[in-house]
């Protein structure tokens, strides 16, 4: 789902904008935090300086009292004071010794609480100012800034929570605005699949929002309208020709047939009329095949579809074609390793596989072999017809599906060039797959993949 969403521009933009905005928020908050921390440190330093200044101005007698007073005034116990002799002995204040790391420049500095844990047991961060006094004495004024640090940490956590919320809001907004587009793309995908499978009446769906996808769908639909119209014109023209010729041809055949039936076999014209009858039948058979392909392609007949077991169809086919193979001196073998139930038009599937078998037997030389297999998992059964004939060159495998196309090797063998077109039309009607490739025995292997195909079919 995320991958699908990520393909939608509006979602990516929403996430991108959300991310940039969240980054901006973080940057802003870091700036505010830094300024706040700096200001708070300045305030603490100012206090330390003021206190040091006051102590510096006190007389030796007052100093002890002033320090005691400051300690008493510090109700939160965050202030530390100490007056030490030059040797470091404490004279006044609440510090037992001079903290390690003191700098005696009269300016506030951060002091390590790790090495001075005995002096500041509950402190997290301490700032301290050291100042030399008259008579070699040394003054230490320090302040625990843990509370300020806590405030700063709280602020930081709040800032990051807000940034995360903004980012999530951006993603949620992206999903909200992009999900209809994802659904629309799915619908378009399904419609495109149906069109790719030969349903040229299908159109890309239009949404209610009239956004760029709809504009694109409208353009594609207009192209499909035009393509369908042109195809319809071509088809109507060829169908009309087929229809208009079939009726007079049928009447011609009837006249020949009646004359043929009423003629003595010894008549010199009998053989010629016999030949004419056979040729007319061949011609009519081709027109019938053309009309049948056209009917299957255009009418989208689905009334004959029902859950059908494939095994019995193949056994019937073997029953029908095995004698023909035997008569042609071709070995016939059938392997049915499963008996799946498939939603299909059993009669049409029989006709399609029958055509494949007819071709296989026709093109396999005497002594060769034809093999029919039904295999695969129940959801994806594959019917394959393999022969040891000359096969079809890879570059001709698509062309042989066109009406009347005959591969180079097939030109000397009787046939109309419509058999594989009919198979292709039937397979397309079912949205099954159809693949032609090399057989193990060196001939052709034709496979019907008996489950709905999605995209491009293997060739």
């Amino acid at each position: 789902m995320f991958a699908e969403l990520w393909r939608v521009t509006s979602f990516r933009l929403a996430v991108l904008y959300g991310g940039v905005f969240a980054l901006g928020v973080v940057f802003l908050f870091v700036l505010i935090y830094w300024q706040t921390a700096r200001y708070q440190n300045q305030q603490v330093d100012q206090v330390l300086r003021s206190q040091a200044q006051v102590f510096a101005q006190s007389t030796t007698e007052q100093l002890d009292r002033d320090i005691t007073y400051e300690i008493a005034r510090d109700a939160r116990h965050i202030g530390f004071f100490g007056l030490f002799t030059a040797e470091g002995r404490p004279l006044a204040g609440n510090l037992a010794r001079i903290p390690d790391g003191m700098v005696w420049d009269g300016k506030p500095h951060a002091l390590s609480t790790a090495v001075n844990a005995d002096l500041f047991p509950s402190a997290v961060e301490v700032r301290a100012l050291g100042r030399p006094m008259d008579g070699g004495k040394r003054l230490v004024v320090a302040r625990d800034v843990a509370l300020l640090e806590q405030i700063r940490q709280s602020l930081l956590r709040g800032y990051f929570a807000i940034a995360a919320f903004v980012l999530l809001l951006g993603i949620a907004g992206g999903v909200f605005y992009s999900w209809p587009a994802v659904r629309h793309i799915r619908d378009i995908d399904r419609a495109a699949m149906r069109i790719a499978n030969g349903d040229y009446r299908e159109r890309l769906p239009l949404g209610r929002r009239n956004h760029e996808l709809d504009t694109l769908a409208r353009i594609v639909n207009a192209m499909l309208d035009e393509t369908e119209r042109l195809m319809g014109e071509v088809k109507t023209a060829s169908d009309n020709i087929a229809h208009d010729l079939r009726t007079p041809l049928t009447r011609l055949r009837a006249s020949i047939y009646r004359t043929h039936q009423s003629m003595e076999k010894s008549s010199p014209s009998f053989a010629a009329l016999d030949h004419a009858l056979i040729q007319t039948d061949l011609l009519l058979a081709r027109f019938r095949a053309l009309s049948r392909i056209s009917e299957i392609e255009s009418k989208r007949r689905h009334a004959g579809f029902s859950p059908t077991r494939l095994g019995p169809i193949l056994y019937k086919l073997a029953d029908l074609y095995e004698p023909l193979a035997t008569l042609s001196g071709v070995g016939f073998e059938m392997n049915v390793t499963c008996d799946p139930v498939v939603d299909c038009d059993g009669e049409l599937l029989f006709e399609a596989i029958g055509n494949l078998l007819d071709n296989a037997i026709k093109f396999t030389p005497k002594g060769g072999r034809v093999q029919v297999d039904l295999a695969g998992v129940p959801e994806r059964p594959v019917i394959s017809v393999e022969d040891s004939g000359p096969g079809i060159a890879p570059d001709q495998r698509k062309s042989v599906l066109q009406r009347f196309y005959r591969a180079d090797e097939a030109r000397t063998v009787p046939g109309s060039g419509l058999g594989l077109s009919l198979v292709d039309a039937i397979v397309r009607l079912h949205a099954f797959g159809f693949a032609l490739d090399d057989a193990c025995a060196g001939g052709l292997r034709a496979r019907v993949l008996c489950w709905p195909q999605t995209r491009d079919l293997p060739s």
């Binding site: 079939r246 009837a254 047939y257 009334a303 008569l327 038009d345 009669e347």
Partner: protein, 233 residues
């Protein structure tokens, strides 16, 4: 004379609005010794048919007033059981099913070979006039057991495979009549499309061999350009 069978002497009603098609049907049926009446629309056809006396009716599916489905539906509702061969330009399998469900007995699509049409009419007439078929049929020195699905000659069991038995039974039941490849394919394999010339010929050849081995005279005649006829040559 290599003429078509002239044995049938039945009455056929042709209901067809297209004149040239009707001429074709009438000419073909007349050449097979049928007495033919014709009606140019559904209403007239229905009136003729209800009057009775016909062995078979050929009925166009698309008629200007009452269409073919309406005509056959009315006939069946009125208790008229005359066999109906529906003829239609609509070859879709849905149409075939619809026609047969409405009460038609057989279905043929236009344009059709006239001998195929007459062969179907003959089979329909035979089926209609035959009494209930016994479980054992005997003809031309052959006996078939329709329960055990076996066939015998004077020399014993023919040892037929199931398909060969079905083929022989269909031929025997319609002995003396021309049966087209499509009709045989429909009856034996149950599918409705043209199986091509070779296939049925191969199966007929196989059956001929078995009959010959069983000491039967040549019983399956090839009717050039049409199909086969069962019976003594």
């Amino acid at each position: 004379m290599n003429t078509a069978s002239t044995t049938p002497t039945g009455r056929v009603l042709v209901i067809e609005d297209d004149e040239s098609t009707a001429d074709e049907i009438v000419a073909e049926l007349t050449s097979h010794a049928f007495q033919v009446d014709r009606a140019g629309n559904g209403r007239a056809g229905l009136a003729f048919a209800l009057r009775g006396g016909y062995d078979v009716i050929t009925l166009d599916r698309m008629l200007p007033d009452i269409d073919g489905l309406g005509v056959v539906g009315t006939l069946r509702a009125q208790g008229v059981q005359t066999p109906v061969l529906m003829i239609s330009a609509l070859s879709d399998v849905d149409e075939r099913v619809r026609g047969l469900r409405a009460g038609g007995d057989d279905y043929l699509t236009k344009p059709f070979a006239s001998d195929e049409m007459s062969a179907r009419v003959e089979v329909l007439m035979r089926r209609h006039t035959q009494a209930a078929e016994p479980t054992r049929l005997s003809a031309y020195g052959l006996t078939i057991d329709r329960v055990a699905h076996t066939a015998f000659s004077q020399m014993g069991d023919l040892g037929l495979k199931p398909t060969e038995y079905q083929l022989l039974e269909f031929l025997l039941r319609n002995g003396g009549q021309t049966l087209t490849r499509t009709m045989i394919f429909e009856a034996v394999w149950g599918y409705h499309f043209d199986p091509g010339t070779n296939l049925i010929e191969v199966h007929i050849a196989g059956l001929r061999k078995k009959l010959e081995k069983a000491g039967c005279p040549p019983l399956i005649e090839t009717v050039r350009g049409s199909g086969y006829r069962f019976g003594p040559a």
